[in-house]
Structure formats: structure tokens, C-alpha cells
Amino acid sequence: MECVVQGIIETQHVEALEILLQGLCGVHRERLRIHESCLKSSPNLGLVASEVRVLCDLEQPEPTWIVRHIGGAMRGSGAEQISVLVRTMVESKVSKNVLRLFYALGYKLDHELLRVGFAFHFQRGASITVTVSSVNKMLKLHATDEAVPVTPGIQLVEVTAPASSENYSEVAAAVSSFCEYLAPLLHLSKPGTSTGVVPTAAAAAASLMSDAGVTT
């Protein structure tokens, strides 16, 4: 299970966001270069259609692989009252021929993306990860060196935290609380309910850069 919120920010303000995150998280950022392949089951395979994501971390000296299954989101009045999305999520580290296995099992590549950016992992009431990345599409199959941004000038910000059925309320509260610090720069909400860029972003970014002694 995990708690998730997302938002978008203009690329020109990413440096300011990084300065803010560095101050809030107290840890060093990690570079991010993830090749994400979304696989879907062939027609008729499975009791229901299914989807699985294969992530390859290209930032490591030797690429590492993860399989991730994202399940349904929590529903009902309780879920509506929470400002973050709570959904089932299971992932597993795997060896490198995972794509070959899933293709052999009858899964097909639906789409692939390359996420390039950075991430902060820290503890603040919960184990929180903030990723800031440009989402890029590949013009040729698996050609990660020839990827182009899906939305030039805009980057995706995701805040996630692992949770369980026992503690998701506390984790959701910790994520919500943290997101308030980012409000001047961007608005974070449940995936699928984006509110666009915030009007205060430019002023907030300028202030942050000025405080940090960065001239643009």
C-alpha cells in the first residue's frame, strides 16, 4: 500500500524547488533516470485484464530492475476525506530478463517512458520520497538515448510514502503536512485531479533563489 500525491511545476522553477526540498529534507538528492515499461496482458489472458510496470534504474553502475503492480485506490467516504490517494502497491526487485519473462507469459508493451530528474528520500512522520522528473517518450523502441519530453517545460512532482492498512491515516497526514511546505511553488493533489501550476510559483521561486544567493 502507498500514499501518493502529484503535481506539476515549470522547469524554470525546478532549481528553486530543489533548494526548498534540500532545506526541508536535510538529505542529499539522488539522481533519477528510470526507464519505465508498462505491460498489459494479451486479450483473453487472465480472469481480468492486467497491467504491470517494469522499471529499470539506469542511474546505477549496473542497471537494476523492479516489477511494480499498482492496484485499486481506496474508495468510500473515508477515502474522500483524505487529501492523498491511498492505493495498493506491490513491488519486487528482479533480475535483468524480466521483460523477456513477461513477454513469454503473454504480456505486451503498451507504452514506455523515461523519467529523468532527482529524488529525495527522508523521514518526516513517515518514510517519504519526493521525485521531480521530466517525463520523456522514446521515438524508437527502448531508445532511451533518444527520448524527448512529453510536456516540454513542465516537470512532474510526486510525493509517495509506503503505508499499511494499520497506519495509512498517519502516513497520509504526514504526507499532507509535508506538502503544505511546497504550496507556494506547486499544488499537490491525488493523481488524476491536477490543478495545474500555481500562480505564486514565480514569486516563490525568485524568493528562494534570492535567499540561496543564486542569480539567474
Binding site: S41, S42, N44, L45, G46, L47, V48, S50, V52, V67, H69, G71, T88, V90, E91, S92, K93, V94, S95, N97, V98, R100, L101, A104, L105, G106, Y107
Partner: protein, 202 residues
């Protein structure tokens, strides 16, 4: 029969260390419309090994694919509902130390019954990870083992068919993925032997 084989290990000065268990699961594809023909692997196996309690191994032997994963991959497969566990077999028995060799002797039976399907012997030469470098030593051990076994009145005999690990993309450096491939090969061997025996009886 397992007792006899275990006693054989003790007769060549094997020191019993405890019990061990591995599980092999056959997965079958699930279809929404049974009438629609489909080409999906019928030899998709999952294996858990005693030396890697947090890992799980998938093998499609016909396509020479082996995958090592965290054991949470089983939960992912359950959630996908595209493949279901059809039958599980358990390999379990006793582990012995003989100098630099580790020996595992076990019975093979369906997880839900005690119906013995075979006896498995696993020999590991601990000082070396290179299969080429340890081949002669292991062959020597197997000769000693077969001689010790010949003195006992047991039906059948141990057979070893070494898989072509390179076809699975595996190198000379031995890993748990090699072990998983060997278990899949042993399973195929066992099925073949049972089918041959049934054909002879018929």
C-alpha cells in the same frame, strides 16, 4: 527409501546438520474465454530455495528463461490473476556436511500428499563457485556416492543431467539461479521417468 539414502550419507561420514525444504509450483494460464486457442507456456514454474528465503525464482524451461525476484513477486502474480498455481511439489529432507561438501537428501512429493514421486540429492562443493574448476571434484564425489549406494538394496539409481546453463544466460560462476534451473530440470526428468514407467505398465 529416504531413510536408506540418508543412512548412505551417514555411512560416508556425513554429519547431519538439520532439515531443508524447497518448493516447486506449476503455474497455468487463466483465460476469460476457454474456447479461444492460445499459445502460452505450459512449463512456467516457480521455485523457492532454502538458502534464499526472501527470493523466488521463475523458470520457463522451454524458452530457457530464469528470473530471480524478491518473494513479493508471488503476491504480484496473485494480483495479476493471469497465472494461477496449479500444483506444488515439495523437496524436503536432511542436510549433511562432508568435509568441503554439503549434501541435501530429500523426498519429492506433492505438497498436499505424502505420495512419494522420487528422491533428490543435491551436492555442493563449498570452496569454489566456478563450475568448470569444481567439475572434476564433484564427479569424484558422485563416484564415491554411487559406490556407497550400490551396496544398498534400493530400486532405481541417481541420475544427473546437467542443464545447459549458458542457454539460460548463466555464466560459469554458480548462483542460486543455477540451482533453480537444476530443480526445473530434475522435475522434467522425474515427469519423464514417471511417464515412461506408466507407458511400460500399460
Amino acid at each position: 527409501m529416504l531413510t536408506e539414502v540418508s543412512q548412505c550419507a551417514e555411512s560416508i561420514n556425513g554429519v547431519k546438520e538439520g532439515r531443508w525444504k524447497a518448493t516447486l509450483t506449476f503455474y497455468k494460464p487463466m483465460f476469460r474465454d476457454q474456447a479461444v486457442p492460445a499459445e502460452y507456456p505450459r512449463d512456467f514454474l516457480g521455485i523457492s530455495l532454502p538458502e534464499q528465503p526472501n527470493r523466488y525464482y521463475f523458470i520457463i524451461r522451454s524458452q530457457k528463461i530464469v528470473l530471480e525476484a524478491d518473494s513479493s513477486i508471488q503476491m504480484i502474480m496473485e494480483k495479476l490473476q493471469s497465472y494461477k498455481s496449479r500444483v506444488s511439489l515439495t523437496f524436503e529432507g536432511f542436510q549433511y556436511q562432508l568435509g568441503d561438501f554439503q549434501l541435501r537428501v530429500g523426498k519429492v512429493a506433492p505438497s498436499a500428499s505424502e505420495n512419494l514421486r522420487g528422491i533428490v540429492l543435491e551436492v555442493e562443493y563449498l570452496p569454489l563457485s566456478s563450475m568448470e574448476k569444481s567439475r572434476q571434484i564433484l564427479d569424484g564425489f558422485v563416484e564415491i556416492w554411487q559406490e556407497a549406494m550400490s551396496k544398498r538394496s534400493l530400486p532405481g539409481h541417481f541420475m544427473h543431467i546437467e542443464p545447459n546453463f549458458a542457454e539460460f544466460g548463466l555464466s560459469d560462476h554458480y548462483t542460486s539461479q543455477h540451482t533453480a534451473v537444476q530443480y526445473a530440470t530434475v522435475m522434467a526428468q522425474l515427469i519423464s521417468a514417471v511417464q515412461t514407467a506408466q507407458a511400460v505398465r500399460n
